[in-house]
Symmetry: C2
Subunit: 403 residues, 2 copies
Amino acid sequence: MRVLVLGGDGFCGWPTSLYLSDRGHDITIADNLSRRKIDIELEVDSLTPIRPIGERLHALKEVSGKEIGFVNVDLATEYDRVVALLEELRPDAIVHFAEQRAAPYSMRTEKTKRYTVDNNVRATHNLLTALATTGIEASLVHLGTMGVYGYGWSGSAPIPEGYLTVKVPTPDGELEREILHPANPGSVYHLTKTLDQLMFSFYASNDRLRITDLHQGIVWGTQTEQTIKDERLINRFDYDGDYGTVLNRFLMQAAVGHPLTVHGTGGQTRAFIHIKDTVRCIELAIANPPEAGAKPLVRNQITETHRVLDLAKMIGDMTGTEIAYLPNPRREAEENELCVRNDQFLALGLKPTTLSEGLLEEVHEIASKYKDRADPAKIIARSVWRQGMETSADLLTELPADK
Amino acid sequence: MRVLVLGGDGFCGWPTSLYLSDRGHDITIADNLSRRKIDIELEVDSLTPIRPIGERLHALKEVSGKEIGFVNVDLATEYDRVVALLEELRPDAIVHFAEQRAAPYSMRTEKTKRYTVDNNVRATHNLLTALATTGIEASLVHLGTMGVYGYGWSGSAPIPEGYLTVKVPTPDGELEREILHPANPGSVYHLTKTLDQLMFSFYASNDRLRITDLHQGIVWGTQTEQTIKDERLINRFDYDGDYGTVLNRFLMQAAVGHPLTVHGTGGQTRAFIHIKDTVRCIELAIANPPEAGAKPLVRNQITETHRVLDLAKMIGDMTGTEIAYLPNPRREAEENELCVRNDQFLALGLKPTTLSEGLLEEVHEIASKYKDRADPAKIIARSVWRQGMETSADLLTELPADK
């Protein structure tokens, strides 16, 4: 298949592009390199030494003989170039990672709130408009988030895959209606994914676009079978308070000798997936699109759920690292239960890569290898959900030399 | 109260500004004059000879002694100027009409689809961000639409005011949950209002903004007690296929001797409100905002429902005008029933101005007075919901001289 990967230079996009290429698909990456530019703005860098996209692609050709195309284009602002690219490429599938993806960054300042909405909404809507107008029949696979559902909304019922059947009272008795699960976004970032969902529903119905929305959990891990083949292909590893995700942050903190930062009680239960499963799920999704005229197909892209504090304790025990309980900069429930349906990907053949000591060790080792690149002043999460919320000072100004 | 009216030069915004000024409020209009510029793009003009905003405000001062401030600013793109205006004015209430408001225009071309989303989403989100960041405690009243609910979704149950109580099955029995009524938008324009709703919910919760969302029906009529005082204060009257609303179009068509254009079977039932009631509802809404911390208050701003064909027949009988059945450029159900709750405004004291021969005659007379300004080539609705849908040719190339 000819696959266009929007946002193919990012944390999920890059390993997905490599994996799909390895599996024989013809890949073109479109990316405006915004993720690298935000690093510059935040004065932080991937813990792993990611190479420029040109060098990445050059290395890929050396290592595997495969070529991946690259176009530097801004999906949110360069509509005409996006249309021209679609017309030229006529892809069979489009994978859409081209959105600002960090909740803390989306809450950081008025500028980042506005950027997140303006970028994400326009990127998605431009793509939908372009597909509707050009009539290109590519199926669209979008990276959404589990965070659209909220936590604890439906009591003991597991979170379904996108749609919920409810009973609506009427004078003539109750009606059963299948609805998009009510939106309960926890940040401006999550909000944009709930806006995406409504746009998908409309364009799937009005223009018969074939859309899959993947409600992904928190990704952990960093390397895949493809990114590990050459150091120049290495995936990014975010450990900072805005872009770092919880499990990778704990593993990095343990590796560099920083206390494990639990914000709040740690009672938050979240859904997780390893990056190796992310790339497999994308392939399953592009191979199994919905029919034209069908509503968007929503698949929960998660493999397991864990309580944040349990993860901290496990890694603390494994590595002998202490836990630091810090003020929570987010507005969220202190504790929640979480049960999520993920039947669809299991039925399509996904074999979940679950949390195991070996895998944790692997990530820990990568973090150890590059620990000299870490800046201790970037570890604490300080983007607050409301002005005036308390945050922690840095716990360490220098990282221990001997860890 | 000090009231900022965003979009205060438009069809609803102008009479609202005049009405609130007449009632003793201190009004500032912010408007980028986009509605007038779209007229230029569509090569059409208001049937009534609206005057430039400067002349309107000058005339108001002459006629009533009242002053209304005016700032030409683009809410979607000039964020810093919006913040400065809010800081300077520190309004008690903000009325937000500043969105592209025509469903056909929103479906006309890829450019107008993109403009509608980019403008409406950014306008609303900029406003929310500005209020959250500045901490200005103005309550926000937004003009939404009945079209967010869709038609026929809940069987015989009347459409509630924004929120619906449903039963959610769980392993421990059914849970009752109050949800935002599921979104069933019929156009990109309506879609943007469903996106607005999700943004309102998030910012009302996260930042304790006080937000009222008015789900308005189709507005008819043109003049109010204030706009009628001087011809220079006259309100706009849209009759073209994109911006004209159904009942006003029928009245105009009858006045100029054009067949009444029923697109489809005319079996569509819609909710209506007279412009005189729109302005009263806005005043009731700003006087009765929700508390900080409450979810957005949704009020259905409608007074009656009618079947499109019934309206055509009534006006046809009243004026001796024939009905022309034309292909429907929209994707919508051919027929629907409609029952809508509007208890809130009735409880607040609204006395509905319902369809009456006198009022219809008044609008018909305004249309007659300015019929020489009508362009018969602008009457047929031709913005199709999907490429290739059939549209009608012009029915008349010249309007009858003697009507």
